[in-house]
């Protein structure tokens, strides 16, 4: 291994612009590409939802300002149509999960931070890394282009349940093709992450000296590696149903709009799609949340100035969580009539999987006990993450029990539940991570006052969005309804819908300080050194921003990841690369 010339050759080599910033093989550039692209998709998915919220708050009224620009198929006379609403709903879910949150947590933060935290010069396969971004981007563009297909974008929900999705308009075919791209991209990414985390660790960085963030990414990568292929299989089968006239998901004697589908061979199983889909989509939930837990752990350790409480419990819980997530999928299918024996099995596994989640949350909360907390902007986001993730997790328990799920299934309660995990949960963690690692990426701090404004109003309004949904759901309002006010029980809860919608629009306003802060700080933020937070993990040993190849000298690790406030030391932190 040529340790010494690693850094000598490449520093002076000037790459042309397109190799340095566009088709770059540097994990840091790719991480930033992922983050920016995914933030744009996040904004787009949010915009779709803000338009839908108008229809839900004020059904049948023309959308102000933008209604007339949406085109006649989506919004005739400025009023969002039922088909338009369905397409927006399906694409909101798809974009948020597959194009925004996963690429942020794994593609963005994982790519940027993981190699730095393990003291590696780059990912194990830099060119594969570039390929995974350049497969992700066309996948996203295909998804967006489907809005311009005849009949509009996919409109069978983000779950694309058959047979509805098989008889849907061409947008669904685009959705399937887009998914094949995204799955390929995440496959390449996950192989790269696992190899990097296992083989490229710096000298002395044993597995139990890895920061929890790296563990979270490692488990996430295994989930992506093993759970996505069944969805790819399902997408191939559905594509065959749509393009080649097969009947994998089409039962015998299917009647569509009063016409029997006699040209089909029949004999297929609509439930097969649900099994294959949820075999991916339940592990996917942990793909969404584990990177977030990793980010939050780093920030809590840094800002409490204490070692994380129960580091090994965290690690073992994450591994157990990853394993269990493969055998809980059918709790999404209690209402399909698959039989009580299966339901009981999946109910039991679902209750078991809540144990490691609670262990992780408990460890993080106990870590706060007795600390002199630094209330920095990332820490504010991390602190508000904890209770909101708890709400998201605990509201999931009634859904995992078959008896209570009968009442709550497919209502706004479900929407409230999983958004509490993903929006105030993962998205808050993403914001926390951006504030935390911004000085590493740019060499400048983000403005703290704007950051506090962003945090405070986001925290208020995001609860205004999702808390009322839990009550609406318990009132029995169904999740995919175009106009809930047509039903008596829906009309009586219409006031809550108005509140949710206004909270959502104000939540958008609350993001403006962040956007201003983000761009202002890139050029005008206060300049800082390599380790502004006085943190211990290896990424802070590299210069800010790190050059191509990352470290000035190859780091060697001498201690665990969170050696804060060690008695008898001059400083309250002992970086991993410094001899104790």
């Amino acid at each position: 291994m040529s340790k010494h010339d690693t850094h000598a050759d490449h520093h002076h080599e000037e790459l042309p612009f397109w190799r340095k910033y566009i088709f770059s093989v540097d994990h840091k550039v790719i991480g930033v590409q992922y983050t920016i692209t995914a933030l744009v998709f996040l904004m787009f998915g949010f915009a779709l939802m803000m338009i839908m919220r108008w229809q839900l708050a004020y059904p049948g009224q023309p959308i102000p300002f933008i209604g007339k620009y949406l085109g006649d198929t989506i919004a005739l006379d400025g009023i969002l149509s039922g088909d338009g609403y369905n397409a927006f709903g399906a694409m909101h879910g798809t974009i948020m999960v597959f194009l925004a949150i996963v690429p942020l947590g794994v593609g963005g933060f994982g790519n940027y931070v993981l190699p730095l935290q393990i003291g590696a010069p780059d990912m194990a396969f830099p060119r594969l890394n570039m390929a995974s971004y350049w497969i992700y981007l066309p996948g996203g563009i295909i998804m967006l282009a489907s809005f311009f297909m005849p009949g509009g974008a996919a409109n069978s929900g983000w779950t694309s349940y058959a047979p509805l999705s098989v008889i849907a308009t061409t947008g669904q075919t685009m959705w399937l093709l887009g998914m094949v791209f995204l799955i390929t991209s995440s496959l390449l990414g996950s192989v790269n992450f696992i190899v990097t985390a296992v083989q490229l660790r710096a000298k002395g960085l044993s597995f139990f000296r890895l920061p929890f963030f790296v563990w979270a990414q490692l488990v996430t990568s295994f989930l992506l590696l093993l759970a996505f292929p069944p969805l790819e299989a399902a997408a191939v089968l559905q594509l065959m149903d749509r393009v080649a006239g097969t009947s994998f998901f089409m039962p015998t004697g299917l009647v569509v709009s009063g016409v029997e589908q006699a040209h089909l061979s029949g004999g297929g199983s609509p439930l097969l799609w649900q099994h294959l889909f949820w075999f991916l989509a339940h592990p996917e939930v942990y793909v969404l949340i584990l990177p977030a837990l990793g980010i939050i752990s780093e920030i809590i350790a840094t800002n409490t100035r204490k070692p994380l409480w129960g580091y090994k419990s965290l690690v073992y819980s994450a591994i157990f969580l990853g394993f269990m997530s493969f055998i809980v999928w059918a709790h999404h299918m209690f209402m399909t009539g698959m039989g009580t024996t299966l339901s009981t099995f999946f109910q039991a596994t679902t209750m078991i999987i809540s144990v490691p989640s609670v262990i992780i949350l408990t460890c993080l909360i106990i870590s706060l006990y007795g600390a002199s907390i630094r209330f920095t902007v990332p820490m504010l986001f991390a602190l508000s993450f904890l209770p909101m993730f708890a709400i998201g997790g605990l509201t999931g328990l009634p859904l995992g029990l078959t008896a209570s799920d009968i009442h709550l299934h497919d209502t706004y309660y479900v929407i409230g539940h999983f958004h509490y995990v993903v929006a105030p949960g993962t998205i808050f963690a993403v914001f926390a991570g951006i504030y935390h690692w911004f000085p590493k990426v740019t060499g400048r701090m983000m403005n703290s006052t704007l950051g506090r404004l962003h945090w405070f109003f986001s925290f208020i309004f995001i609860n205004g969005v999702f808390m009322p949904m839990l009550f609406q759901g318990m009132a029995g309002i169904l999740r995919r309804q175009y106009d809930q006010s047509e039903q008596l029980h829906g009309a009586s809860a219409q006031g809550l819908s108005v509140m949710v919608s206004w909270s959502a629009w104000l939540l958008f306003v609350a993001q403006i300080p962040f956007i201003i802060n983000f761009f202002w700080s890139i050029w005008k933020g206060q300049k800082v050194g390599a380790n502004p937070w006085e943190a211990t993990t290896l990424e802070w040993a590299a210069p800010s921003p790190p050059p191509h190849g990352n470290f000035d000298t190859v780091p060697v690790v001498y201690c665990g990841p969170y050696e804060y406030s060690v008695p008898g030391k001059k400083t309250d932190f002992c970086p991993q690369h410094v001899v104790a």
């Binding site: 590696l225 006239g245 029949g266």
Partner: protein, 276 residues
């Protein structure tokens, strides 16, 4: 590559895994491939178990061509052997011999695809007609008839929006010879009014054939993918091998791992689809 960063364990094995990066990555990739084909095989089991009475053939040999598939199995296994011999030759620094075996592997893969092409086209020229009222053929009353379109039968058209053959005014069909005989019954004229459904033996014919085409099609794509990689090394390999023989042997080792996996998938596909 002067601008590239030197990556640790690019060539020498890591103590934890005992593998260099590329080999470890390839094993992970194969794990994900196992999940992909595993999901498809599971779907096959579920669909077959849930198939309505009489819609699934007793065993694949009723419809599929077992001798051709057996021949193809031998071809693929041989190609796996030549792949290993290519790697072994390169490990022993015999570049010319390595490149030769690589070429043989490529040609065997091509032979597999050619046979597959004949199998597929046989299916697309073979038809089944499901009737509304049973007809008497050769003294037996039947509700569906299999056969080839007669020479003077008007061409069939496909309705694009339902992705199936449109019911024509009439068709002329040369029915298949009954089991155990080689004599074809005379050409039949079937009125469109009595046709419930008409299909070639393509994916739309039945869920069995849908599974057959999806699984073998996906496997075929994997073969083509492997052939692209092998062709790349056939064309560029000698120069690369002169400069860095060890690295080149590693690459062929990884290609070989993938190739054996594709071979293994076929070893499962063959009995599941053709024999069971």
């Amino acid at each position: 590559m002067s601008a590239a960063v030197a990556i640790p364990h690019d060539m020498e094995p890591h103590p934890v895994t005992g593998m260099y990066n590329g080999k470890f990555g390839l094993w992970l990739f194969l794990a994900s491939e196992v999940m992909l084909f595993g999901a498809l095989f599971s779907s096959y089991v579920l669909l077959r178990m849930g198939a309505p009475e009489g819609t699934w053939p007793k065993h694949g040999a009723e419809i599929l061509n077992v001798p051709l598939a057996t021949f193809n199995t031998v071809v693929l296994i041989t190609s796996s052997v030549t792949m290993v011999m290519a790697w072994a030759a390169l490990k022993m620094n015999n570049i010319a011999r390595g490149q030769l075996f690589l070429t043989v592997t490529f040609l065997l893969a091509g032979a597999f695809l050619v046979v597959k092409y004949f199998e597929y086209s046989e299916k697309f020229n073979h038809f089944e007609v499901w009737l509304k009222e049973p007809m008497v053929v050769d003294g037996n009353s039947v509700s569906s008839i299999r056969g080839h379109l007669a020479k003077d039968c008007p061409p069939l058209t496909k309705e694009t929006h339902i992705r199936a053959f449109a019911i024509p005014e009439f068709i002329l069909l040369d029915p298949d010879a009954p089991a155990g005989s080689k004599e074809h019954p005379p050409t039949l004229r079937i009125d469109g009014g009595n046709i419930r459904r008409i299909s070639d033996f393509g994916p739309a014919h039945s869920t069995f054939l849908a599974t057959y085409f999806t699984l073998t099609g996906l496997h075929g794509l994997h073969i083509i993918g492997g052939m692209v990689v092998i062709l790349y090394f056939m064309l560029t390999g000698s120069r690369f091998a002169q400069k860095r023989p060890d690295k080149y042997a590693d690459r062929i080792e990884c290609t070989g791992l993938y190739w054996h996996f594709v071979d293994l998938v076929w070893i499962f596909l063959f009995p599941v689809l053709y024999l069971l």
